[in-house]
């Protein structure tokens, strides 16, 4: 059930109506938790009526694969609830640490098993094969529970925050279950910190505090990003990556730039819609994207791209590893390791790890530059800022190549093509450059809040008119088959 699907809108209409009609905050949370589980189950069980019929008939073997995955979600909640209570009752720091270790081991154990066991096995087999051994292991093909990376990190944030004493342990299981299963962010983030969300449960939600107008604009913005931008860019990118060697050098540039556009439109579109849906229910989710392609350094980029993940990694990995403390080598190692793990978080493949390493390397170079030669350059003002933006953007776009490519061979082929090596005769229409330039202009105008200010100036009638006509345009030009959000696979 995707945010852009009519069935989601139907589901949300029911959830929203019942939620605001109910007065009791507890009943509301029960309702949203149940809705969260239903939403999550829809990714695994197929059509609910068919599933119910199969269960009723006792045809367990015919149930869709992974129908029992929601049990993990429940397990993660249950475990961290017990951990929280345990930490609250623990008399010594050692005992608290023990509880935290249990949470880390269990959550990361499940994540590791489902997401990385097959990858580790294949990598080990390849390595042993390279050494000359021929391991005969059964091949692991585990189905990945959707959203596991997101809810595991979210659940862990609760244990860690309680351990650090930033928040008290929740007393009601319902509150923790509600926090983790809150459907707007359940399967693809933003990764909400317990310390940012749980305090919102202290006071009852009131419709008077909701800004429906702002939420609708945000949802519509996300909808446009997904349908008009990401979904339309995808076939062009797919056509190129299906056989990169048959395309020209300029087409390679168009395709890698189009992928940068696609992944941004896809993920930030999802995040916008998630935040909008949460707002309509009276909750605030953190900002996840802040015009990342306008960043003037990689550090700036990571303050603007997937902010909820980068800040999670900073606070729960980079800083505990030592952060900026220690000598240069130690800091460099902390940074590089954090980014590499960040790459691995995205997917169990070496291409993702290399993507993380490229960003780690870029951040190290930036760090060295900023503390040395860059000091003088900064005095050059706008020229320096433009050059810094250009370099950052090129690095980010280049790093997307291994992220998108199915193998290193394809990534190397594409990277070579950008510089004229290899390539064929097929070419995208030159209008692609105008299209990309237009999107860049829209992106830049977005940062200056030109669109938002224009919409804010409209009366409610005018906004209804614009949204209605805009929806018609978006539906008309969206592809007949939309893909699942890219980050669902992580």
């Amino acid at each position: 059930m995707l945010f852009v699907e009519a069935r989601f809108l139907l589901f949300f209409a029911v959830v929203f109506t019942v939620y605001w009609l109910v007065r009791s905050e507890t009943v509301r949370r029960v309702w949203l938790t149940a809705a969260g589980f239903f939403f999550y189950c829809c990714f695994f069980i197929g059509p609910p009526l068919e599933f119910a019929q199969l269960v009723g008939a006792g045809k367990w073997n015919e149930l869709p694969r992974g129908w029992w995955f929601p049990v993990f979600l429940l397990g993660s909640m249950g475990l961290d609830y017990v951990v929280g209570i345990g930490m609250g009752a623990a008399a010594t720091a050692r005992a608290r640490k023990g509880w935290l270790a249990l949470s880390l081991a269990a959550n990361l154990g499940v994540l590791g098993t489902f997401k990385y066991a097959g990858f580790a096995q294949q990598s080990a087999a390849a390595f042993l094969g390279w050494l000359g051994f021929q391991p005969h292991w059964p091949v692991l093909h585990l189905l990945l529970p959707i959203g596991i990376s997101f809810y595991t990190f979210q659940s862990l944030s609760y244990s860690i925050e309680v351990y650090r004493g930033h928040i008290p342990p929740v007393r009601r299981f319902l509150d923790l279950a509600f926090f983790i299963s809150f459907f707007p962010q359940l399967v693809a983030g933003p990764i909400v910190r317990a310390a940012a969300f749980l305090p919102q449960l202290a006071a009852p939600r009131r419709w008077a505090d909701v800004d429906p107008r702002g939420a609708l604009i945000l949802f519509f913005t996300g909808f446009l990003k997904k349908t008009l931008v990401a979904e339309n860019a995808a076939p062009v990118v797919d056509a190129f990556y299906a056989s990169p060697s048959s395309w020209t050098c300029s087409s390679a540039w168009i395709a890698v730039l189009a992928y940068a556009v696609q992944i941004y439109g896809d993920f930030s579109g999802y995040s916008d819609m998630a935040r909008a849906v949460a707002r309509l229910l009276g909750y605030e989710l953190p900002l996840n994207f802040d015009f990342p392609y306008l960043a003037t350094s990689l550090r700036d980029f990571w303050r603007r791209w997937h902010i909820s993940l980068s800040s999670w990694l900073r606070d729960y990995l980079y800083i505990p590893l030592g952060g900026n403390r220690g000598n240069r080598a130690r800091v460099a190692l902390n940074l590089f390791a954090t980014m590499t793990i960040g790459g691995l978080w995205h997917g169990a493949a070496w291409t993702f790890i290399v993507w993380g390493m490229l960003h780690g390397l870029g951040l190290l170079v930036h760090r060295w530059w900023e503390n040395g030669p860059g000091v003088q350059c900064r005095a050059a003002g706008k020229l320096w800022t433009s050059a810094a933006w250009g370099l950052t953007f090129l690095w980010v776009v280049a790093a997307w190549i291994p992220f998108r490519a199915p193998t290193f061979a394809v990534a190397a082929q594409v990277a070579g093509q950008l510089f004229g090596a290899g390539g064929g005769e097929k070419a995208f229409h030159p209008a692609a450059w105008a299209l990309l330039a237009g999107l860049a202009a829209v992106h830049a105008a977005g940062q200056r809040r030109i669109w938002r200010r224009g919409l804010d100036r409209l009366s409610d009638w005018g906004l209804a008119l614009v949204l209605g006509a805009g929806l018609a345009v978006a539906l008309h030009f969206m592809p007949m088959h939309y893909r699942a959000f890219i980050y669902f696979q992580f």
Binding site: Q53, V236, A472, F477
Partner: protein, 346 residues
């Protein structure tokens, strides 16, 4: 001035939103013309360009698209002493009612000036699941879901008591959601970037038919080896047994056909139902509605030459040379039918 009650304001804004949406959808749909449907859009373009010449059109599935050669058909008709028709094959793979009915109506909407004969493949309504999900949710699977044809599909599915009710409900819901997709124009101009940026050859891979006739014959590669042996066995088993009884047309299909025949007549043409040879399993003639011209070849026993393994490239289709002979046979039979009809007292 903002109203005191925000919910009243919201309720009043909703109709504005819906009207803006509906108005813009209508404007985009009207200005956009026929949607991009692989296999049909290009045929429609040709049809429009030649609407002042074509007098005979074939509509149906692969058994029409790949079996009815307009050239062989026209020559056979001319050889029987009738005026040589200007025929065009508007068939497409997997085109069955209700889509074929909708397609006939689309062709008539272009107001063809000389159209005299509409050959429509006479087939039952195929159910969802017969084609595979990839096709059913494609532009081809969706485009024909206007009110009239969705109603026909939904009625047919809902009355089919061989299916459990849950499956029927599921199929009806699919048809209704596809109708909603058509009504809202969702995906109608999809692939904005790919349409603009992808090279022409990548976009027109499916348009391999002859642009003059709309026909595409299968390659001369008859079945061989195990396939041929299995086919011979099936054929022998069928011929050894009792021929299956003639199928009765479901009431909903009969009514829809009657309506379509009347529309074709109003456009100045005549509907001819044709049953091309099917696969052995599906080879079973259907009783045509009274008053509609009918050419039936879907019975193994009476049409063995079209079922010979040498004439077939697979269990359900003929090779190109057999298709040409079949087209000539249809032309001769059609000429005889026309003569018989003109000789009959009115």
């Amino acid at each position: 001035m903002p109203l005191a009650k925000p919910w009243i304001q919201a309720c009043l804004c909703l109709p504005v939103f819906v009207l803006a949406w509906a108005g813009a959808t209508l404007a985009l749909t009207r200005s956009g013309g026929f949607p991009q449907v692989p296999g049909l859009s290009e045929k429609r373009e040709i049809w429009q360009a030649r609407r002042a010449q074509i007098d005979t059109v074939f509509v149906g599935s692969s058994r029409t698209f790949h079996h009815l050669d307009p050239v062989a058909f026209a020559e056979a008709v001319a050889a029987e002493g009738l005026a040589k028709p200007q025929a065009f094959n508007a068939g497409a793979d997997l085109m069955f009612p209700p889509e074929s009915f909708r397609w006939v109506r689309e062709l008539l909407a272009a107001r063809p000036e000389k159209l005299k004969w509409v050959f429509l493949e006479f087939a039952g309504i195929r159910e969802k699941g017969d084609f595979g999900e990839g096709f059913e949710n494609s532009a081809r699977g969706v485009w024909w879901h206007d009110g009239q044809h969705t109603r026909l599909a939904v009625d047919h599915v809902w009355r089919d008591e061989r299916m459990p009710w849950l499956e029927r409900a599921d199929q009806c819901a699919d048809h209704l959601s596809q109708a909603a997709q058509v009504a809202t124009g969702a995906g109608r101009r999809g692939g904005l970037w790919s349409g603009l940026l992808l090279p022409q050859e990548a976009k027109k891979e499916d348009a391999l038919f002859d642009r003059e006739t709309g026909f595409l014959g299968y390659a001369e590669q008859a079945m061989s080896g195990e396939d041929a042996a299995r086919y011979r066995e099936q054929l022998a088993a069928r011929l050894a047994g009792q021929p299956p009884p003639v199928r009765t047309m479901p009431a909903d299909l009969r009514a829809a056909l009657k309506e379509l025949a009347a529309e074709v007549r109003r456009a100045g043409a005549e509907l001819v139902l044709i049953e091309p040879p099917e696969s052995i399993r599906l080879s079973r003639p259907m009783k045509p509605p009274p008053g509609v011209l009918h050419l039936g070849y879907n019975a193994v026993e009476a049409n063995q030459e079209w079922y010979a393994p040498e004439a077939r490239c697979d269990g359900g289709h003929m090779v190109g040379s057999a298709a040409k002979k079949f087209s000539a046979r249809v032309g001769r039979d059609f000429a005889a039918l026309v003569k018989q009809r003109s000789a009959a007292p009115r």
